[in-house]
Every structure is written in structure tokens, then in C-alpha cells.
């Protein structure tokens, strides 16, 4: 930097109306920006419904003119406050115009009509794997406990067994199947079961992120427990009753657990083996469809909780229990897998 020889005295020029572009630009558009800002502020504070019709019509025009102001200002103006202001204003407007989710009701309707069954159909492979894992684990659990009853205590915790172990008498086991608790506790029990199982379903989904390994463990453990209990009841001639006891809610509950496990598998496999997609894109696609499935299993588990807590305690005939369980299963299968109208994309 070279110093400059001192000038005599800095001269003064007569007043000029406007010196820089930024001033002209502000003068021409400031009113529009302010109107847009006031509209956006109203939407942010309340909702789009707070706007009048004419404001709603003006909104996209104002947004586009603000965007074009930003583009022009960046190229022709050096007033940074102006550019920063326009960037913030346009970003706020963008998220209000493009980023806001649709209303809760329409999202719910879409979820039940289309999104949930479609997401479940899209993970049918994983569902099949989770189902086979459950069956295999149940068989293993059954064989293990039949061969050596001490395995039972290795598989099922004391808190869950509640006296239903291989050493229990036939009569006490029969009591656990057909005894009805007092009505008051039923609903509480149902609520407890629902929240407990739903939390496990969410876990099974979230743990899928670790390449699905913890999800496999959860699913296998679920199956082992089922097999172990069956091995306690079946040899005492209570197998038919036990299956009815489990089936009334189990078709819904096990199906839900299998589905949330499948959602976890989908995430795990998408991250481990993204295929032709980028790993990030595969993860996002799997995460979204998996979350949709998982949110649905919470609904299923609520139904299962009601069936288990109330239905099972009031319906004690084996055949009615079988009928309810099978009807539920058929209902879910039809709802999920029945091909439907224009959205019924045929899965490969």
C-alpha cells in the first residue's frame, strides 16, 4: 500500500439525491418486503389460516419478488445489511411456503388409507425373515426346555414367569390361563402392556441402526420366550388352551413386534448394503418407510393391549379366543397386503 501525497483540503460536493444502488433498490421494494415480512410473521405466530384471501393470493408473488430482489441485490449492491435481511426473509418465507407439513388430519388419513400398508408391503422380505426367525427361535426354545427344564430359567426371567415354570402344578397353570382378574385392574393392565410393548417396538426399530444385530437379538429372544412357555404348558395337556390364551392378542402383538423388527432390519440392511443408491440416500429411504411401519405398530399394540388386558380376561372359552385371534390376523393381513386401487403398486 503506497501512501498518497496529501491533498490540499478535501473538497465538498453539492447534495446529490441518491448515491448508491442499494438506496434506489430499498426505495423501490421496501414496501413489498415489509408486507411479506408481516404476512410471514403472522403465519409463524398463528397459522396460514390467519391470513385473508387477498393476502394468501399475494404471498407467492411477494415471495418471488423478494427472491428476485435477493438475487439482484447480491449482484448489484454492496449493502450487506440489505442482503442479510433479504436472505433471512426469503429463508423464512421459503420454509413457510415449501417446508410446512400438511395438516394433521390429512396426514392421518393418508397414513391409514395408503402410507402405512404401502410401507408394510415394501418391507415384506424383512417381515418374512423376522417371522421365520421368531418361529425358529420358538422351536429352539421349546426343544431346549423340553430337553432340560433348567433352560427355562435361563430364557425367561423370574419377573415374567410369575410361578409359571416347569415345576408348577397343572392346576396352578390352568388358573393362570382361565382365571379372571377383577375388572378394575384390567384396564390398567392393558395400558401397562401397551406402553411396555410399544416401547419395545420403538427400540426394535431404533436398534436396527446398529446393522440390525440388536434387533435380531430382540426378535430371537421374543421367540425363545414363546417356545419356553409352550414347553411348560404343552406337556401338561394345556397346550391347546395356552395357544388360545396367547393367540387372542398374540396374533396382533407378535405381528406388530415382527413388523417393527422388520423395520429395524430394513434400516440395518440399507446402511450395510445400500446397493446402487448412495449410503445416505438408502438410509433416508429406509428410515422414512421404517418409521411409518413403526408408528403403525404402536397402533397395533394398542389394539393388542386392549385384547390382552380386557378381551382375554373376559373371554375364557378356548374356541372364542381362537376365533378372535384368527379373525384379527386375517383382518390385518387383508388390510396390509390386499392390492388396492391406483396406489396398489405391485411389489417385486
Amino acid at each position: 500500500m503506497t501512501d498518497i501525497a496529501p491533498a490540499a483540503v478535501s473538497a465538498f460536493a453539492p447534495p446529490q439525491p441518491v448515491l448508491v444502488n442499494a438506496s434506489r433498490f430499498r426505495a423501490a421494494h421496501a414496501a413489498d418486503w415489509e408486507r411479506l415480512e408481516s404476512l410471514i410473521s403472522r403465519i409463524e405466530r398463528r397459522s396460514v389460516r390467519a391470513l385473508q384471501d387477498e393476502d394468501l393470493l399475494a404471498l407467492p408473488l411477494l415471495y418471488r419478488s423478494a427472491l428476485s430482489s435477493l438475487a439482484v441485490a447480491r449482484e448489484t449492491s454492496l449493502d450487506r445489511a440489505l442482503i442479510v435481511y433479504l436472505e433471512q426473509l426469503c429463508t423464512r418465507a421459503y420454509f413457510q411456503l415449501y417446508g410446512v407439513p400438511s395438516s394433521a388430519l390429512s396426514q392421518l388419513a393418508r397414513f391409514f388409507r395408503n402410507a402405512w400398508p404401502a410401507a408394510i408391503r415394501s418391507i415384506w422380505r424383512e417381515t418374512l425373515v423376522a417371522f421365520l426367525l421368531t418361529v425358529a427361535a420358538a422351536v429352539v426354545g421349546y426343544v431346549l426346555v423340553r430337553g432340560d427344564p433348567s433352560w427355562f430359567f435361563g430364557i425367561v426371567g423370574d419377573g415374567m414367569a410369575q410361578g409359571r415354570d416347569p415345576s408348577a402344578s397343572v392346576e396352578s397353570l390352568r388358573q393362570t390361563l382361565y382365571n379372571t382378574k377383577d375388572q378394575d385392574a384390567l384396564a390398567t393392565f392393558a395400558a401397562f402392556l401397551f406402553t411396555h410393548n410399544a416401547q419395545i417396538a420403538i427400540f426394535a426399530f431404533a436398534l436396527g441402526f446398529a446393522f440390525g444385530v440388536p434387533t435380531v437379538l430382540l426378535i430371537v429372544y421374543n421367540g425363545l420366550t414363546l417356545g419356553a412357555f409352550l414347553a411348560v404348558f404343552a406337556p401338561k395337556g394345556l397346550g391347546f388352551g395356552f395357544i388360545g390364551w396367547i393367540m387372542i392378542h398374540g396374533t396382533t402383538e407378535m405381528f406388530a413386534i415382527i413388523l417393527s423388527g422388520a423395520a429395524g432390519f430394513r434400516i440395518g440392511t440399507a446402511i450395510a448394503f445400500p446397493g446402487r443408491q448412495a449410503r445416505m440416500d438408502a438410509a433416508v429411504a429406509a428410515g422414512k418407510s421404517g418409521a411409518t411401519v413403526m408408528a403403525g405398530t404402536v397402533v397395533m399394540l394398542a389394539v393388542a393391549g386392549v385384547l390382552e388386558g380386557i378381551g382375554r380376561q373376559t373371554v375364557t372359552a378356548d374356541l372364542s379366543r381362537y376365533a378372535i385371534g384368527l379373525a384379527m390376523l386375517a383382518g390385518w393381513l387383508l388390510y396390509f397386503y390386499l392390492p388396492r386401487g391406483r396406489h396398489g403398486v405391485v411389489q417385486a
Binding site: M1, E87, C90, A190, A291, A295
Partner: protein
């Protein structure tokens, strides 16, 4: 659908910027700013405290009602309420139009889809279901270890290390993504609302100083915008220092009106650099 492109032209000096290029369907780059790890953690703490207070108050109210009425429906209410609070607080707030929990709102953050599209319910549920393994899993490990006392310390260390990976995941990537953000295709941006600063070059009735060409040739856009910052901050000492520096460099005499001098110099320099822009010459800084 807006495109999301990483800004690769940034100069590698200073701390990593959280500004990201974000092109709208209209083709304008909005240059959004991501929420930093500290702000995000603060927002989470606000939410956690709010949830805890709500939980404690609701529990006290329900226990009092239960003692009074012995209704088992209250137990159900508590169970379902706890479940809804744990799993629904974040998801329900973020599904609303604001895309932010109260904590995020307070900190000026909001959740948006990385591709600029609508934020779907599935994405919000995915990003919040992952909190189970990010927050609640480490918490429950800690709790169970505290309850059991002397447990296998190797298992504890392993479990904490494993869950720590998830907890501190946002610090290990440049976009500050949680595991949940990664899976849901979302990120958390700052929502700043600022006023339009006053025009520094208002048309005034007074005469303005005229500067020799050489004096205006000293600086570029970067220095001009630094000068703008100084003028807007209005700090007397900064204005005096800057005015003295410019006078010394340009060899101008001191007329004991620092503010007026800088105002006029800003107007003149801004006009000159803008004329350059119109003919396609952008002088980035004084070295250009």
C-alpha cells in the same frame, strides 16, 4: 424441489462454517445456516427440563386425585401420559407448522428436510424414534448400573462407549446430524429474524466530501462491508480508529468530524465499487 449442494469454494480459514448452500426451486441460493452443536444441546436441555417439570406436576396432580377418588382410570392416564410424553413431545411439536419443539423455538432453530421438500410425518417420527438409542438407552444404562451398584465394570464401559457414539454423533460430522437426522433426511437450521438496517447512504441536504480517485482506490468490497459494520455498530472508539487509519493511508487532513468523514467515505467508496459491479468488475478486497 430445492437442490442441496455442498459449498466447496469456501476458503479454508477460520473455524468450519455452518453455512450451507440451499437452492430454491426458483434457482436462488438461500445460504442457510445450520444450528451448532451447542445451540442444539441447549435446546434439548430446555425440552428435557420442560418435560421433566410437566411429568412431575402431572404425577403430583394424578397422585392427589388418586388419593381423593381411588379411580384406577388415573393410573391408566399416567401410564398413557408418560408414554405420550416420552415418545410424543418431540414428534408432535415438530410435526406442527413450526417444525420445532419449544426448546428449539426458544433457541431459534427449526427442523427441515435436507432436500428442501415438505417435512413428512414419517421423517419426524424416524428422527425422534432414534432418541431411544441416543438418549434413553445411555440413561437407562446409567440408572441400572446405579441401582445394581457393583456390576461388571467392563460391560458398563462397553455400554457407555457404545451409546456415547450415538450421543456425540453430531460432533463427528460437518452437518451436525444426529443419527435421527441422518435416517430421516432432515437437518436443523437457524431461523433468524432480523430487522432491515437503516440505509447508510440516505439522500441528505448537506454537502458531501469529495475524495481523490487514489483515496477511493485503496479498498475493496471486504473493507467496505467491514466499514459498514463499524458504522452500524456506532462505537465511538472504533469509528475514530478507522477514520484515522483511512486518513493516514489516503493522506487526507483531519477535519475533526470522524462520523461525517466515514459516512461520506462509505458513500463514495460504495458508489465507486457499485459502478465497477455494473461493468462486471468485483473487487473482492484491497489485495484484488
Amino acid at each position: 424441489m430445492a437442490l442441496f449442494r455442498r459449498n466447496r469454494t469456501r476458503r479454508p480459514k477460520g473455524p468450519q462454517s455452518l453455512r450451507r448452500s440451499f437452492v430454491t426451486p426458483e434457482g436462488v441460493d438461500l445460504q442457510i445456516e445450520l444450528g451448532g452443536a451447542g445451540v442444539r444441546a441447549a435446546a434439548f436441555m430446555v425440552d428435557a427440563v420442560a418435560m421433566l417439570i410437566l411429568l412431575i406436576l402431572a404425577t403430583i396432580a394424578i397422585v392427589l386425585l388418586f388419593v381423593a377418588s381411588k379411580q384406577s382410570a388415573l393410573a391408566i392416564l399416567w401410564l398413557l401420559g408418560f408414554f405420550a410424553l416420552r415418545n410424543g413431545w418431540f414428534a408432535l411439536f415438530e410435526m406442527g407448522g413450526r417444525g420445532a419443539t419449544p426448546g428449539k423455538r426458544l433457541m431459534g432453530l427449526r427442523v427441515v428436510a435436507r432436500d428442501g421438500a415438505r417435512l413428512t410425518g414419517g421423517a419426524v417420527i424416524a428422527r425422534n424414534a432414534m432418541r431411544e438409542i441416543e438418549v434413553f438407552l445411555p440413561l437407562s444404562f446409567l440408572m441400572s448400573q446405579a441401582v445394581q451398584g457393583l456390576a461388571d465394570s467392563f460391560v458398563t464401559i462397553f455400554a457407555l462407549g457404545w451409546s456415547g457414539i450415538f450421543l456425540f454423533f453430531p460432533l463427528f460430522n460437518r452437518d451436525r446430524l444426529r443419527i435421527g437426522d441422518l435416517l430421516a433426511g432432515t437437518w436443523v437450521v437457524r431461523t433468524v429474524r432480523g430487522e432491515l438496517g437503516a440505509d447508510l447512504v440516505v439522500a441528505s441536504e448537506r454537502a458531501r466530501r469529495v475524495f481523490p480517485e487514489a483515496a477511493l482506490d485503496l479498498y475493496g468490497v471486504y473493507e467496505l462491508q467491514t466499514l459498514e459494520e463499524v458504522l452500524r455498530s456506532g462505537r465511538e472508539d472504533a469509528i475514530a480508529t478507522v477514520a484515522a487509519t483511512i486518513r493516514r493511508k489516503a493522506g487526507l487532513p483531519d477535519d475533526h468530524d470522524d462520523r461525517g468523514f466515514l459516512d461520506d467515505y462509505y458513500a463514495a467508496l460504495c458508489g465507486r465499487l457499485e459502478r465497477g459491479l455494473l461493468v462486471g468488475r468485483r473487487r473482492a478486497d484491497k489485495f484484488a
